[in-house]
Symmetry: C2
Subunit: 246 residues, 2 copies
């Protein structure tokens, strides 16, 4: 219509055509990134729109429940990632499998530090019975996967309690690690958590028959060069001084 004198065609912002699923996942990724870095109360829908380079109404169209809905959806996707951490092929010594699972879990903690703390330390404005249930589901899934690796699909109450308390110990250690400026280095933290597991399983084996069988077969798969060999050799001199106990 209007010929000469028209401004040269300005490139429009590159709104990519995304499917509903792709758009949803793009918004969730942006949200998870923000919730990872800040407490939920410090993240607004405007921030999410800006991070995803979309309009605020678009964010609302996908999450009409506002921030609470977005937060729960982001938490859901974080839960899926965390539940994947303990999914591990069933071969090799148990401590190797556990070490690899912990590497993935701790990498997630490292990457989503502020959000991980805010979520687990409680008292956040977005915390509800629903968000607590999601967190609890992650713990339960991790416990089931570990029990599966132990070959204990129907665990004794004591063995299940041992695994579940170890998982809360992993969480607590992760929070302390974040609180202490990410010290010690992640691989030391991982090794200590593996040692913690071995020690707890062995102590539980002392009074629980099934834990005893599980511990024996787990120990049989370990090698002298692996973490249990090293742990055993380091503990020996400490225990040797306590011969009066035997």
């Amino acid at each position: 219509m209007n010929g000469s004198g028209t401004a040269p065609a300005v490139p429009r912002p590159a709104y990519r055509r995304l499917s509903v699923e792709q758009r949803r996942s793009q918004l969730l990724t942006a949200a998870l990134g923000l919730f990872a870095q800040r407490a939920p109360e410090d993240v607004s829908l405007d921030d999410v729109a800006a991070a995803a380079q979309v309009s605020r109404p678009l964010v609302y169209r996908y999450f009409p429940g506002g921030k609470q809905q977005l937060y729960e959806a982001a938490l859901r996707s974080a839960a899926d990632i965390l539940e994947g951490c303990f999914d591990e092929p069933e071969d090799g010594p148990l401590t190797q499998r556990l070490g690899r699972a912990l590497d993935r879990y701790l990498a997630f903690v490292d990457e989503h530090d502020a959000g991980f703390s805010a979520l687990l330390q409680g008292g956040s404005v977005v915390e509800t019975a629903r968000t607590s249930a999601i967190v609890d589901e992650v713990r339960r899934t991790a416990a089931e996967q570990i029990l599966h690796h132990l070959g204990a699909a129907s665990p004794s109450p004591r063995l299940r309690m041992a695994v579940r308390t170890w998982i809360t110990a992993v969480e607590a250690a992760s929070l302390i690690w974040l609180d202490e400026d990410k010290r010690p280095p992640l691989d030391e933290l991982r090794d200590w958590l593996v040692d913690h597991f071995v020690a707890l399983l062995t102590a539980t084996a002392a009074t629980d028959e099934q834990a005893g069988r599980v511990a024996r077969s787990a120990l049989a798969m370990e090698t002298a060069e692996g973490p249990v060999g090293e742990l055993a050799r380091r503990i020996l001199p400490i225990v040797a001084d306590a011969a009066h106990l035997l």
Copy 2:
């Protein structure tokens, strides 16, 4: 003044004259009793007034902030009790002191079951940054008291992490115990938690010098008849099968 014809003196409801402090403490005791048995959302100020046999306005006069204020005050008094649990004379083997502290802690859990679960499981309507801070203070105090008993006033980061993660393990085990209809019997749970502590301290001693010193001197105080002696004798045959690790 009015002589005959007066109605006989009807005994008035026994409103005892209480000091402000006594009244406050009476209301808190009633509230703690209710919060112990039900989730906070299921306790009203009317219930508290009824339990303390006082009027609702009186409850409001003492707690003008309503249920939230009452809940926080009740939590504060529960925190004081819990912090007292780990206060223990410094003599005898460490496992004996730990066992006595756990007996007190677990008795509290047993008595305040519903409230303990609601508080620690999160997602409650009365949970705020302030209530989380009170819970956290209990954990920190317990950790300091245990480190004190270990003779580690300035603990290494690893030793402090071990003690703090064990405390969350105690919490988690208490919640699981409540969830599983209070099984196993409390004394078995206590003994297992003590074993857990000994195992974790020993495993931590493998890679931390201070934990090593602490573990050696703690083991030196234990007796063959005590829990560590029993633990050691029960673990020996399990570990003996794993001689290939040494």
